[in-house]
């Protein structure tokens, strides 16, 4: 029998929440270990940072000089590279610092800022190396990481999810919160994958799965204004978890200029 494919889970600037998509799998985690060799996954135990692997998952954004260098090594050692979550895929909520002067903040927060080695920006992995698949979400869930892994084990391309959250709301019998409650839901521009989690609990989607395909942020932003949001509040809707994702970044910029 051929050796099992090797898998690694790496971490960059992040909260570790996406790695829980693996750790919370329950019995499926045992099945996963029968299908692949998990050679590097520091949070779970195995550490072999430079092991050549078939599949590498990366959590977290590129935020320090060390990240830049480590990312190149991971790319060179990995056949198929998958980013997991808003940080690795779009720079994360911490990319808000791209709008500010990061070094001035260090001086005001840290007594000895010279100990902090940080880049001025927080950027997605794809800004630095080729990424083979992006899994969106804050955090991603077990279904997403397993579906991607299973597809690769079959030797086929993983199915990309890029429809809008609205479709999932309707399939789950969730009443539209924007229409029935008048709250500024980002579902009409946000990528599906969460199972319409927030609207199912009566709150508005805040876009943690990033932009869907073919978004119309201009029209939705105007609707938010109609609901009573001031332009700066519209900006904050778009510039949040996935503020550096191009569709949301551009929307935020447009509404800032009003």
């Amino acid at each position: 029998m051929a050796a099992k494919p090797k898998l690694a889970v790496h971490k960059f600037a992040s909260c570790d929440g996406c790695q829980l998509a693996f750790l919370n799998l329950g019995e499926d985690l045992l099945m996963l270990t029968q299908l692949v060799d998990i050679v590097h996954f520091a949070e779970a135990g195995p550490v072999d940072l430079d092991a050549p692997v078939d599949i590498a998952f990366i959590e977290g954004s590129v935020s320090t000089p060390e990240h830049l260098e480590r990312l190149q090594r991971i790319r060179a050692n990995s056949k198929f590279l998958i980013t997991i979550g808003a940080c690795a895929t779009a720079g994360g909520v911490q990319a808000l610092r791209n709008f500010a002067k990061g070094n001035e903040w260090f001086a005001s927060v840290y007594a000895k800022p010279e100990y902090i080695a940080s880049l001025d920006t927080s950027t997605p992995v794809a800004s630095h190396v080729k990424v083979d698949l992006e899994l969106w979400g804050c955090p991603v869930n077990g279904r997403q990481v397993l579906a991607a892994t299973r597809a690769l084990l079959f030797g086929v391309s993983p199915v990309e999810e890029h429809d809008k959250v609205c479709l999932e709301c309707k399939r789950h019998h969730v009443v539209c919160v924007l229409v029935a409650k008048g709250i500024p839901c980002l579902g009409p521009v946000t990528r599906t994958g969460c199972g319409a989690l927030c609207p199912a609990f009566g709150r508005d989607c805040y876009g943690c799965y990033g932009p869907a395909e073919n978004t119309n942020t201009e029209s939705l932003g105007r609707r938010f204004e109609g609901l009573g949001l001031l332009p700066e509040a519209v900006v904050r809707r778009f510039l949040f978890i996935n503020n550096a994702a191009p569709a949301f970044a551009e929307a935020g910029k447009r509404w800032k200029e009003r």
Binding site: V175, V179, N216, L220
Partner: protein, 368 residues
């Protein structure tokens, strides 16, 4: 002559008769700030005195002292999800011990269901869904199993929402056919009419009283009033020629600037039937389930064919929806795919109005 008047205090008898006959009762109730259809155990579950306030992109409910259970126009869904399931498994594959693949069809399983409070537009939409899903040779076993076990209690509309336009499509507000029982709601009770043998059987078991001529007149007048309340309309019942003559109309660009391409309209539309199918493998790779789920002509996947998305932008997607719904449906099903329920207007997050767009694109076309 036996009576046909069911006092409001006896409405629970209708639910109990249906339950004793073996039906799960489903009916309108207030949930998450909207009228939704769900399992109905008791008359107290009905949205007594609730009114809906509908406008493009907006739905609100308000409570009133009105004793009526059906003093509202409609909610986001009615029959469609009960028959055309939003998500369901069609078949699965298993790897047998000898290594061969086995294909196992999902057995259609349907609980006999009685739906209380079906509107005329819902019945018109049901006829179109039937035409789609029950047509041989591609009759859908899952839809058919649920359809065969369905008992329909219609309620004539006595109040139209500002978004309703069923009078212009010829589908309401009176439920003319396709029900087992129909109800006209008055302040103190209901006038009952049977539309099928099953309905007559249920009706015979109800504690009915004689209706007065005045009650019948009041009921008819209220339905007529509901038709008169409607202000929206489509320019014609057949817009096929007008739409296809205007494929390059600038209004398609205009509506695409507003449209979110979010598929809310097609999801709440009671006649839209598009779906996608996908295989979901088990983690060990030994099997998979083949699932069907609601899709929409507003998604990228809907027009994806071998590496190319045919309708990549919103202008083409909206045009596809409208020219199919109001145009080429005539060729497919002998009528327009719009029953005038107005759901696509209310539940569009940005309030795009199909009657306004159709009128802008087709002009004041008057040929029927």
């Amino acid at each position: 002559m036996p009576g046909n008047y069911l006092p409001r205090a006896s409405f629970q008898a209708l639910l109990e008769t249906l339950q004793q006959t073996g039906y799960r009762c489903v009916g309108p109730q207030l949930r998450d700030d909207a009228i939704v259809y769900d399992t109905l155990r008791h008359v107290g579950d009905l949205p007594r005195g609730i009114r809906d306030l509908q406008a493009p992109g907006q739905y609100r409910v308000e409570k009133s002292d009105c004793p009526r259970f059906f003093a509202w126009a409609n909610g986001p869904q009615a029959l469609k999800p009960l028959l055309f399931a939003p998500q369901e498994f069609l078949w699965k594959t298993e790897r047998a011990a000898d290594g061969r693949l086995r294909f196992v069809a999902a057995v259609p399983d349907a609980v006999p269901t009685a739906v209380i409070g079906v509107r005329a537009c819902d019945l018109a939409a049901l006829r179109l869904q039937d035409a789609h899903f029950l047509k041989d040779p591609s009759r859908d076993a899952h839809y058919a199993a649920r359809r065969e076990r369905l008992f329909l209690v219609a309620v004539h509309c006595t109040r139209s929402a500002p978004t309703c336009f069923c009078a212009s499509t010829g589908d309401g507000p009176r439920a003319e056919a396709g029900f087992d029982l129909s109800l006209s709601e008055l302040d103190d009770g209901f006038l009952v009419e049977a539309g099928s043998d099953t309905g007559r059987g249920v009706m015979a078991r109800l504690p009915l009283e004689a209706a007065s001529a005045g009650q019948t007149q009041t009921a008819d007048a209220e339905i007529a009033q509901a038709a008169k309340q409607q202000t929206r309309k489509l320019p014609s019942r057949n817009l096929q020629a007008a739409l296809f003559a205007n494929l390059d109309h600038p209004r398609w660009v205009d509506v695409a600037e507003r449209c979110l391409s979010c598929a809310n309209c097609t999801s709440v539309c009671p006649t839209c039937f598009c779906h996608s199918e996908a295989d979901q493998p088990t983690l060990d790779g030994a099997g998979s389930v083949h699932a069907r789920q609601w899709d929409s002509c507003f998604t990228q996947g809907h027009s994806y064919i071998h590496g190319v998305t045919i309708r990549a932008d919103t202008r083409l997607r909206y045009r596809q929806w409208l020219t199919h719904k109001l145009g080429s449906w005539h060729e497919q099903y002998g009528r327009s795919g719009c029953v005038g329920c107005g759901r696509c207007i209310t539940w569009c997050p940005v309030g795009i109005d199909i009657t306004e767009e159709a009128t802008a694109i087709c002009g004041d076309t008057t040929h029927v």
